[in-house]
């Protein structure tokens, strides 16, 4: 998928939805698709483009969420500022994590990132004096644009869409620029890249830092949208898995992939939960079994992700059509 046409279509459609749809639940679904898509795309910067597959990105998401929530509750500052502060703090954390885990490959790297996110979870849930501990932080809803107190979900769609486009553009930069090519070389074969003089180690750390900043921005917006920051959720491994999952299902290392992946995964999850979740006290958990089975199947039969699958169909059709 080397053209931007599909992405333009995707984002344009997303932008048009609020003009056509009034139903708050559908709009909510779109917001979630975009937020998880943006988070997945942010993850993709490190995981797909730099080959640093992490399952600890919730660390950055949580930092962003807490930054927004704390600035709003402790110092009555605008959550937009929280976005910036969160990005800065997350960049620092990302630099530390990137530097410390620089030499680690494959499963070792995965485990290290999990460990880092769990350390942040414990700090977030025990530091009662600063973060209100396990009780989490209810994010105040103060109506207004600068306080991000927005009841109308249509506006939320556009706000998240703006962030999504920004993350997409960062991914696009990595696909098209010289730095991006260097990063791809590091991803494919780090030793070969080093021998060519590519600053592999610095690039890897930078990728993680950028990825961290973007993820934190998603977290900050999420906090303002949902209205409650719970450390056990925002720093959870489940959340990290969600980001990676959407990116992989959509197409690792492709710019639109994470968004397509999020579209599929979020829609599926929301649909399954609405259909089967409320079945009553008897059959809880069935929708998650379905979800897990689908995950196993998709990852096995469509490993290049949706973008790979669509691209292959396109090529075949082109070849067949002549």
């Amino acid at each position: 998928m080397r053209t931007v046409a599909p992405a333009v279509v995707f984002f344009a459609l997303a932008g048009l939805v609020p003009l056509v749809v009034r139903d708050a639940f559908l709009l909510d679904a779109v917001v979630l698709i975009l937020i998880w898509g943006a988070s997945a795309a942010a993850w993709n910067v490190a995981g797909g483009y730099a080959g640093q597959v992490s399952l600890g990105h919730s660390a950055f998401f949580g930092v962003g969420a807490y930054a927004a929530a704390l600035l709003a509750t402790r110092w009555q500052l605008s959550p937009w500022l929280g976005l910036v502060v969160g990005a800065l703090v997350a960049t620092t954390v990302g630099l530390v994590i990137g530097y410390l885990s620089n030499r680690l490959r494959g499963p070792y790297f995965v485990l290290a990132t999990i460990a880092f996110s769990q350390v942040l979870l414990i700090v977030g849930s025990r530091w009662r004096g600063f973060t209100a501990g396990s009780e989490g932080i209810p994010v105040p809803f103060r109506p207004g644009f600068w306080t991000l107190g927005i009841a109308d979900k249509r506006v939320w769609v556009w706000i998240i869409l703006a962030l999504a486009v920004v993350v997409y553009l960062v991914e696009l930069y990595l696909e098209r620029s010289r730095r991006g090519y260097q990063l791809a070389a590091v991803r494919e074969d780090e030793d070969a890249a080093l021998s060519l003089g590519v600053p592999a180690r610095a690039l890897k750390v930078a990728a993680i830092a950028v990825s961290a900043a973007l993820t934190a921005m998603c977290g900050a917006l999420w906090a303002q949208y949902v209205g409650f920051v719970d450390p056990f959720y925002v720093f959870s491994v489940d959340l990290s898995v969600r980001f990676a999952l959407a990116a992989i299902i959509g197409g690792l290392g492709t710019a639109l992939g994470p968004f397509l992946g999020s579209l599929l995964v979020t829609t599926l999850e929301t649909y399954l939960r609405a259909q089967f979740g409320g079945i009553g006290a008897g059959f809880v958990g069935i929708y998650l079994i379905i979800y897990g089975v689908i995950l196993i199947l998709v990852v096995r039969f469509v490993p290049a992700g949706l973008t790979g699958w669509l691209a292959a169909r396109g090529t075949r059709r082109a070849a067949a059509g002549g």
Partner: protein, 427 residues
């Protein structure tokens, strides 16, 4: 021919009228439906309690429909949503309010969910009726559509210390300010809020001696021996232990192994020492600890007011019919009690229009003993049911099951083993 046709027409008209009349004779039973949204964590780490709460709602709903005329004269029905985490619960709240078109959403039991759920409900201008979460900040957000029937976390701590200071102290032959108290708790929102509020009241109002700073642990911990060793060193009189399910079982087993001696163990809430699971795990060896809960066996229902007795008896029978057990769980009682008050509010307001509903809720003034669990009703401006009206009871494990032991005027049972004594001798 004409006669035939007009005969058939007349027959048809008479049939229609007869059916209409027959249909309208069903007025004693509620006609038409009134739907509310029910949100609980049915999957994920909080599923045990979420499921119990949902079951409590279902039992109370069926009871309301069959014996109490439904809600506002209509049959009460549910649209159920699963909310295992804050994002999901917000999403489901939105779905219930928009797709299912409910004006009232009730739930969600957990302190980490009620914030997000109520925010989402508020965005859709739906009424949010919380029946269990205990985060004190929940009712401090100036939201006019948010109500809570259960006391908040500070209330749990308040009642625990009330029990310790007013009942345990003199039975141990000490004044409250001579009591040595140790705090142990799982570290989630629930444990932290109850423990901190208990500490505060114990210290400020009664001057109880805190033998060490509170120990918090993750409820999925694999080993509590080091904490038990530290507790043995500090030698408290009372252990205030807020536990979830797994850790209560682990602690009780390891405390026994280490022969940890303490004069009383006090817990609050429908988890850990407050679930039937604790008794199933240990049988008679579970005897001894106290848990602050809704009223259990031994309750003298006659102490309730007549309307309270009627609904309490009916509810207990309904729970027994559904679960086969004489013992209600805290989850059932919180959900059933909260739903009952919602019915009272809706019947009084006769509408779910926010302003009229809110006015009706705030005007309800029922003393202790009026409703399920012996609860009264008196909401304040913040939408919080007053701690004093939401009577809580202290239960104790005796003979492998939980029985009500306090306040003494409400129960036939009395607290035993004060002090607890050796592990093998609590029969």
């Amino acid at each position: 021919m004409h006669h035939r046709r007009s005969f058939v027409m007349a027959l048809a008209i008479v049939t229609v009228i007869a059916l209409a009349v027959a249909g309208s004779h069903g007025q004693q039973a509620p006609s038409g439906e009134y739907k509310i949204g029910v949100l609980q964590p049915l999957t994920g780490p909080l599923a045990v309690q979420g499921k119990l709460h949902l079951e409590g709602y279902e039992i109370m709903r069926d009871l309301i429909n069959s014996q109490f005329g439904g809600v506002m004269g209509k049959k009460l029905v549910f649209a159920v949503g699963d909310g295992p985490d804050p994002t999901a619960v917000a999403s489901e709240a939105t779905r219930l309010a928009t797709r299912e078109g409910v004006k009232i959403i009730t739930g969600t039991f957990s302190s980490t969910l009620c914030g997000a759920a109520s925010e989402a409900a508020s965005r859709q201008n739906a009424i949010y009726w919380e029946t269990s979460c205990v985060d004190p900040r929940f009712t401090r957000r100036n939201l006019k559509n948010v109500f809570r029937t259960e006391i908040d976390g500070t209330g749990f701590g308040w009642y625990n210390i009330e029990f310790i200071a007013k009942h345990l102290a003199h039975r141990l032959g000490k004044k409250p300010n001579e009591l040595r108290i140790a705090y142990l708790s799982e570290d989630s929102s629930y444990g932290q809020s109850v423990t901190e509020s208990a500490r505060q009241r114990a210290k400020q109002e009664f001057g109880m001696q805190e033998v060490a700073p509170p120990e918090y642990y993750t409820f999925t911990t694999n080993d509590l021996t080091p904490i038990i060793l530290k507790l043995k060193n500090t030698n408290p009189d009372i252990l205030h232990h807020i536990a979830r399910d797994q850790d209560a079982i682990l602690f009780w087993r390891q405390a026994r192994e280490q022969n940890f001696q303490v004069k009383a163990v006090v817990h609050a809430g429908a988890t850990g020492y407050g679930t039937p699971g604790f008794g199933k795990a240990f049988g008679n060896d579970a005897n001894g600890p106290f848990a602050l809960l809704e009223p259990g066996p031994g309750l003298i229902i006659e102490k309730f007011r007549p309307e309270g007795q009627r609904v309490e008896r009916a509810f207990r029978e309904a729970v027994k019919a559904k679960t086969g057990s004489d013992v209600l769980t805290g989850g059932h009682q919180l959900a059933g009690g909260g739903l009952w008050i919602l019915k009272l509010a809706l019947d009084a307001a006769k509408t779910d229009d926010l302003d009229k509903f809110r006015a009706a809720v705030l005007s309800l003034d029922l003393p202790v003993g009026s409703g399920v669990n012996g609860w009264g009703v008196k909401f304040d401006e913040a939408g919080q049911n007053s701690n004093a009206r939401v009577q809580h009871y202290m239960l104790q494990w005796q003979n492998g099951s939980l029985v009500t032991v306090w306040p003494e005027e409400f129960t036939t049972n009395r607290a035993k083993w004060i002090p607890l004594g050796p592990w093998d001798q609590r029969k």
